[in-house]
Amino acid sequence: MSAVSTASRFKENAHAALIDARLQGALSFSRNFTVRRSAAAERLPEFEALRDSARAIKDHTLAHLDLYLEAYERKVRESGGEVHYAQDADEARRIVVGLCRSFGAKSVAKGKSMVAEEIGLNEALEAAGIEPVETDLGEYAIQLRGERPSHIIAPAIHLTKRDIESDFRRAHRDLPPDRDLSEPEKLLAEARAVLRAKFLAADVGITGANFLVAETGTSIIVTNEGNGDLTQILPRAHIVVASIEKIVPTLEDAAQLLRVLSRSATGQDMSVYTTFSTGPRRADDPDGPGAYHVVVIDNGRSAMLGGAFEDMLRCIRCGACMNHCPVYQALGGHAYGWVYPGPMGAVLTPSLIGVKEGGQLPNASTFCGRCEEVCPVRIPLPKMMRHWREREFERHLSPAPFRYGLGFWAFFATRPALYRFSTGLAARALHLMGRSKGRLSWLPLATGWTRWRDLAAPERTTFQSRWRAKSGATR
């Protein structure tokens, strides 16, 4: 079973997020991702062409995924590494814990990995008596709070510096109470010192992978901090956890995707560290891990191939969609209740944990289309959210009043004369109700609107009735 979900309580989660003043304040820090992305896109004339190229590479790879996966595995073995396959989250956890045990690991340094969150890896390691230490600064901050990431690129975006300061004071035993941690630089210096010791003490390093290159058997990670690098070169073993759709055919293909990844994520042309890792250390390497293991995870993705949601497998986890989403910007990531938030989370979650548990997410969208507009690999996110809604409607998973309401509307709308008659009545009634101010502050069945907004009252008669009257129609 994958990580625990509260996605079915989305509305309640959303409510909690909206009344959380601290969270709302913190969310304001994330508002300039959009500006940075568009500046980066504008600065590169070839950006749109690169998006098309990236999309084509992903589509081609997915259509030949079995063969590229075979080629990748061969190359990893050739360079002295090992590939393990996990069908689901349980198996992935067992494999990773088993590997850590085989290295006698007591502590494990971790680079940021969303698929590791998905499979609930940290909990499994802890249960096995192994200490996982998140080394990405944001991941470290949330680990201290027992929280999940709220954004796939900036996991601690929901925290303020005050939050982080109080967490450090609580968790860092050797921290003198009079040390000044009032500013971000001081917090960073404290984290750097504490985590440096952990890096050097870790027995095993676990990272994710942004891409797995079939041509050379290489795993690529993209960071700004360098934590993913220290995680993999210092410990005795390097374990990579990555889902099957991370495969790209060649180094050149990786370059295409890397160019749109960092620009879409943070507006950087390149992240500070883009690292290509191939196998364990060579005979003459003075540093590097002695062992290199890649755990390739399916967990529901192979079932998406060839289906209505196949396009979702193009996702390169840049986070642009959530940065541009008005719903995500209002709620933050935790409200989505599982691992992946925002538009990509809304489409992927039901695929991975089922539509009964995750089905609310694709409903909570205005279909503004900004996500699709900025997706580097042109995933038609609103269309796929609509697919989910169709599935739910067919399976009667949408709430009954809602289905009846729609059926009611459709009944009238397919009978024009009846429609004109009833809308005329409704217009007259609502006009009367709202005639003193021209608007209503309350309307039964529409409290979802009127609780927060006034509702404009109609003009009394409908356009079609007036038009007919003017033209003296006989029909």
């Binding site: 507009e373 101010k437 356009f463 038009w467």
Partner: protein, 272 residues
């Protein structure tokens, strides 16, 4: 055939063959809540030399479509396509319904080749109002007066599905006395999203609150858009907050029909 012979040309006795025959798809919200917009659209189209007809019509089917009810959506689509059969063009004072008709109808019938052809032909002749005026008819200015500062909100579907951005601004700039300011986040969703506004009212409120802030910061006295849904949502929030900012459909201003009550106002309210 479902077509109503109440066309303006017969009323006025015109009959020039060079006039394109334009079917007005009035939209539910304009039909039921604000007919003024419909009449403004008719005026703009007639002034531009079109013969306007209004076939008997109901809903484009978007609420059903977005709710996942393809069957109802198809039924309504077939009805709409049939109703506008005799028209050279179908013009819609809404980016949202316009997008449904011009982009999603063909997708709806992707699995029915015969219907798909009809839907394609229908989609090809369908346009949002301001983009029809500017891009198809080549209208560059309107003969209207409006004193005040306005901000134009880019409705999502109009912007992203139909490319409506420069056209309304172009026409607004030709309105005598009108001063146009840009919202800092003109292209950000207002939070309407059709049924979303009611189903997820609390989230919709959070989104429209930000939009209202943006509108107030722009110091416009009127916000305009090409979609009634967005307008009702934005002005409903502004009014609940006690803001004096008004809302009108862009067609009203362009047609010089912006003297009456703005959206959500009554004649009885004292002048502000």
């Amino acid at each position: 055939m479902g077509e109503d012979m109440n066309d303006s040309a017969h009323r006025r006795g015109a009959g020039r063959k060079s006039e394109p025959r334009v079917g007005l798809f009035v939209t539910c919200l304009v039909d039921v809540i604000r007919p003024t917009v419909g009449f403004a659209a008719v005026k703009l189209l007639e002034d531009a030399g079109c013969r306007v007809v209004v076939p008997s019509q109901t809903c484009c089917g978007q609420p059903a479509y977005n709710a996942g009810d393809r069957l109802s959506a198809k039924a309504l689509a077939r009805q709409a396509i049939g109703a506008f059969e005799g028209c050279d063009y179908v013009v819609v004072p809404s980016g949202s319904c316009g997008g449904m008709l011009a982009r999603h109808y063909p997708a709806l019938f992707a699995d029915e080749p015969e219907e798909a052809v009809k839907a394609e032909r229908f989609a090809e002749k369908t346009h949002e109002l301001t983009s029809f005026l500017v891009d198809v008819l080549g209208v560059t200015k309107v003969d209207a007066r409006f004193s005040g500062t306005v901000a134009y909100h880019d409705s999502c579907a109009g912007l992203r599905e139909l490319g409506v951005k420069a056209q309304p601004r172009r026409l607004l700039q030709s309105v005598d006395g009108l001063s146009l300011v840009e919202l800092k986040e003109a292209e950000t969703c207002c939070g309407f999203g059709g049924l979303f506004a009611v189903k997820y009212g609390e989230i919709s409120n959070a989104i429209v609150s930000r939009k209202a802030e943006d509108i107030k910061n722009a110091r416009a006295d009127t916000v305009l858009a090409g979609d009634m849904g967005c307008l009702m949502n934005m002005v409903g929030k502004l009014q609940r907050e006690g803001s004096p900012v008004r809302a009108r459909h862009v067609a009203e201003v362009l047609a010089g029909m912006a003297e009456g009550p703005s959206i959500g106002e009554s004649q009885k309210e004292p002048a502000r």
